[in-house]
Symmetry: C2
C-alpha cells in the first residue's frame, strides 16, 4: 500500500512544474485535506495541522490553501458562511447538500450537472471550467423531527 507515498509524488511533481516546493508544512496541509474529513475551513485545517506540527502558523495555512487552490489540488467551497471551506480536488465531480436542520453536509454525484454544463456552454458561448452546486434543505432525519 504505497498509495499515500505515490500521491505525494504526484503532487510534488505538480508543484515542481509550477516552480513550487514541497515543504513539510505544505505536505502536512495537503495530507490533512486529503484525509477524508472534508469541508474543513481554514481554522480547522490549522488546528488539525498543529496537532502534528505545533509551530505551524495560520498564515501559512492561508497561503498554502491559496497556492493549492490555484494549482488545482484543493477546491474552495462557499457555503452560507462568512468563511470558506476546502476539500481535496475530487476525482469525480460532486456537489453538496446542506441540511438547515442539523448542518450536515452530504455529497452527491450528479450526472445532470454535466449536461447542464454543456447546455450552458452552447447557449452562452462560455467555456465552463468549474461547477459548484449547493442545495439547502432538510435531511430525512430532520424532516421527521421537525414534524
Amino acid at each position: 500500500m504505497a498509495t499515500k507515498k505515490q500521491t505525494l509524488q504526484t503532487k510534488r511533481r505538480a508543484l515542481s512544474s509550477a516552480g513550487l516546493r514541497m515543504t513539510r508544512q505544505r505536505a502536512l496541509i495537503l495530507d490533512i485535506i486529503s484525509q477524508g474529513h472534508e469541508h474543513l475551513d481554514a481554522d480547522e485545517v490549522y488546528r488539525l495541522a498543529r496537532e502534528r506540527k505545533p509551530s505551524l502558523s495560520l498564515s501559512t495555512v492561508y497561503r498554502n490553501l491559496q497556492t493549492l487552490k490555484k494549482l488545482g489540488l484543493v477546491k474552495e467551497l462557499h457555503f452560507d458562511e462568512s468563511h470558506h471551506h476546502y476539500e481535496a480536488k475530487p476525482s469525480a465531480e460532486h456537489h453538496h447538500l446542506i441540511c438547515l436542520g442539523c448542518g450536515k453536509i452530504v455529497e452527491v454525484e450528479c450526472g445532470l450537472s454535466h449536461k447542464m454544463r454543456q447546455e450552458i456552454a452552447r447557449e452562452k458561448g462560455f467555456e465552463v471550467t468549474g461547477v459548484e452546486v449547493h442545495m439547502t434543505g432538510y435531511c430525512a432525519k430532520c424532516r421527521q423531527k421537525g414534524k
Copy 2:
C-alpha cells in the same frame, strides 16, 4: 405604472405578517436591491443607499440584509470571494456564470436544475428548499482575447 408602489405594498405585507416594519431605511435597501443592478455586496448596497440617505449606517444594511434574507425577499449569493452578494429574490430560478477573465456575471435560467433537484430529493430523502449553481469559466469575449 404603479408597479413600484404595488410591489412595495406587497413587501410591506410580507413584513407586517412577520411582525416587522417598513422603515425608510428598509424600503431604501429593498429598492436598491430590486433596482436591477444585481449581485451587490453589502458595501455596494451601503454606498448606493447613502447617496440617497447619507445618515444610513452600515450595520443597518447588514441587519436588513439578514432580515430580508430570512423573509425570503432577498437572496444571498456566495461567490468566490470573502464576502457575500445579494440580489432580489427572482421570480424564476436562475443561476450564475462567472467569467474568470473579466469578472462579468451572467445569469442563466436552467430547466435542468429543477430536474436535478427532484432526482436528489428522491435519492437522498432530502427536502430541497434552495439551489445555488455557480459555474466559472471564460466568456466568449475573453476566450478570443486569451487565444
